[in-house]
Structure formats: C-alpha cells, structure tokens
C-alpha cells in the first residue's frame, strides 16, 4: 500500500457512481492497473480528457486493496488523431480491447506496454489499416501462441498452404485443409509481421489481402481469448 508512479495507456473505462470512472491501464511497471478516477466525469474535473481510452499518461496512484486511486495524471501522448477519425478510432479500439483482455494485473509486462504505445503512435502518424492486425499478431507472439505459418499444422508438409485454422493456431495444406481459406499474399504479409518485415508491410500500398489479414488476425486472437472482440464489428450495423 502506498503511492506509486507508472506510465500507462488507458485501455478501458467504466462509469462508477455519480461522477467517477474505473479506468483500466496497461502500464510499464505494473501490468494492468485498475484504478478509480474520482470526479472525472464532471466538466471541471482536474483530469479533464487525460483519462480517456487511448490516452498515454504518466500517473501517480495510491495503491488500494481491490482498486487503486488515481491521484495525478499527465498526458504523454493524447493521440488526438485517433479520436477524430472513425476508422482509426475503430482500429485503436480493437488494439485497446485486446491489450485489456490479455494483460494481467500486478504482472509486470513492459513489452506489452511498449508495443501498445508504438502501435498507437504508428496509427496516429497515418498508419495503414494493417496496424491493428499486425498488433494483434505480435501480441499473440508475445504470449507465446503465434500461429505456425511455415508448415501444415496437421501433417507438417511445406506444400501449398491454403487454409488457416484459428483453433489449432496454424496453417494447413490442401490435403488437411480446415478453417478459413488463405491466399499466398495474406500468408506472406502474416509471415512479414513476425520476421522483421513489418515496417515494409505497413509502408506498402493497400491491397485486397489486407482485409483477409485483418479477418485472420481477429479470428486468431478471438480463438486465443475464447471470446469475441466486440470493437471489431461494432460500427458495422
């Protein structure tokens, strides 16, 4: 118990009582932090827009038994661009939701924090529609469950790999195919995510395989989480 400092990204907020909110943050030093921001919903709150989802902040918190309490918050990146464009807001929401669900409380994970901040900065700087799927894929890799893409998950063949099986977290050859059909272009992009080719993939021209990669990354993450990512489909209807 006591005061502590941390840097973190707000990944989720809930209303609490009259004017408070519970905020979930993915932090550098404490994994996921759940803290109460008192009075944050009042127009004259000293927190203002600092604790909105997607904000990257430096915090001073009081450690509590169940929930911590935010004492002070300073903005490191407000990611304003992500709040003023519907497509980028949706992509950011997917990343925040996945980061929220995968991170654990009081379990230090500075890599997850750095990856999230990096992905949000890339998206803010005009990053492509490939940023969110790439982030999901790298989160899976960081969790040790990156789907195998080089050989068939069933027979080990390296022959033409034509399907992706999110349940077995791997690709399958023509003889063993099960799951979702996958094109050679999408497979090449997914391989690039894990082999240092991410920068080049993100800088490339938009192509039809991007939509396929987004669906594959979403399904792989949903299979790992054993639940749906709500923010992926929320603006469809």
């Amino acid at each position: 118990m006591g005061l502590y400092r941390a840097r973190g990204v707000v990944v989720r907020t809930y209303r609490l009582g009259e004017a408070d909110r519970i905020v979930h943050l993915v932090t550098d030093a404490r994994g996921k932090v759940r803290a109460v921001a008192k009075g944050v919903r009042r127009t004259k709150s000293r927190f203002g827009a600092r604790l909105e989802p997607g904000s990257h902040v430096s915090l001073l918190c009081w450690e509590g038994r169940e929930l911590d309490v935010v004492n002070q918050a300073e903005v490191l990146d407000s990611f304003r661009g992500l709040r003023e464009d519907l497509e980028r807001m949706r992509a950011a929401a997917v990343m925040l939701e996945a980061a929220d669900l995968l991170s654990q409380e009081r379990h230090e994970d500075p890599d997850a924090y750095r990856m999230l901040v990096g992905a949000l900065r890339t998206l803010e700087a005009g990053g492509s529609a490939l940023v969110a799927p790439a982030f999901l894929w790298k989160l899976l890799a960081a969790d040790g469950v990156a789907p195998a893409l080089e050989t068939c998950a069933s027979c080990g063949s390296t022959g033409p790999l034509v399907a992706f099986d999110p349940v077995d977290a791997g690709v399958r050859c023509r003889a063993c195919r099960r799951g979702i059909p996958v094109s050679a272009e999408a497979l090449a992009l997914l391989r690039a995510f894990g082999s240092g080719g991410l920068g080049a993939a993100l800088a490339g021209e938009a192509q039809p395989a991007w939509g396929e990669v987004e669906r594959l990354a979403t399904q792989a993450m949903e299979a790992h989480l054993e639940r749906r990512l709500r923010s992926v489909h929320v603006l469809d209807g």
Binding site: G48, A49, P53, V75, R80, R83, M89, V94, S231, L235
Partner: protein, 201 residues
Amino acid sequence: MAVYTPAVQRLIDELGKLPGIGPKSAQRIAFYLLRAERVDVLRLADAIRSAKEHVSFCQRCWNVAEGPECEICADPRREAGTICVVEEPRDVVAVERTGSFHGRYHVLQGAISPIAGIGPAQLKVKELLERLQPEAVEEVILCTNPNYEGEATAMYLARQLHERGVRVTRIASGLPVGGDLEYADELTLGRALEGRRPVEG
C-alpha cells in the same frame, strides 16, 4: 442467527437492487422509511408507481414523456428544422437550462462504445434518420458528450447525416467557465484555442 421479518427483508432486497446502493445503504434507507411518517412514505411509493405507469418514451424524439409525445415535441412554438441530438433524457434538461436552444431534440438512448460492444443498432439512430425528411430538418446539432463514446457517436452520425444532405454541427469543446487554465488538459485547451473567436473592441 437473527433475521429481519420477511417484509423488511424484502424492502432491503429491493432497495439493494438500485444503482449505487449496497447492502448496508439498503438497510439504512429501509429503516429510515420504517421510521418516517406514513404519509411521506406512501407519497414516495405513489410517485414511483405513477412515474412507472404514466411515463414512457416520446414516439418522435425518445425523450421521457407522459403521452405519445413529450412536451417539447408537442410545443408548436419550437423551431422545426433543427434537431439537437443528445445521449440521454438528462442531457435534454441540461441543454434546456441554457435557454439557448429553441429547436427539437432527439435522444439516442446511449452512445456508441466500441470497447463495450454498443453499436448504432442498439441506439435510436435509425429513428433519427427517419425524421429528417418528414420534418424537413435543415440542421442537426450533435450534442453528445465530449468523451470517447460521444466522439465516436458524433463521427458516425456526421457520416450518416452528410450522406443525406443535412447541415451537421457539433457543440464546441473548450474550457469551463470559472475554471483555471493551468488545470486544463492539453486536448481541451488545444480545442479551445482552435475554436477561439474575435473579440469586439
């Protein structure tokens, strides 16, 4: 173990279902009601019953109403052609208190929340779009909260409304009157600077 009589326990259980009321608060309120004057308690019970029986949602704007239409929609003095879109009926009261708006409202009954999985289909968006033509709406003011959910809602609605050729405006963001500049966050202060206005000399 000592227990309350069934009637008291039922009262505590029901009060405990209200938002923000825990078991201890429910007990405290229950015993306050038991000690209070009978006439006062029955007036409260009658107010709850009457509100539940008579209050529904306005068929036009989805504000709370005691009849098919709310008082604002039924008022012929309100300007037709301008709709102020808000999230909750409480926001209608907040805007009405300013005395600066004379058009009609549309209550969405919530806001889009990508992270909570609340999309336009769960809100009264279709109902808003269906009002545009019959009411000859010229301007829609997006008066959703200036937070993450409210901004997402405003952006989604702006896209839908522009496609239909309606003038779309968004309420300004900036500093609250009576506040201190040094406590303003970067986002709010940035928007306040962008939205600055010339001052008459």
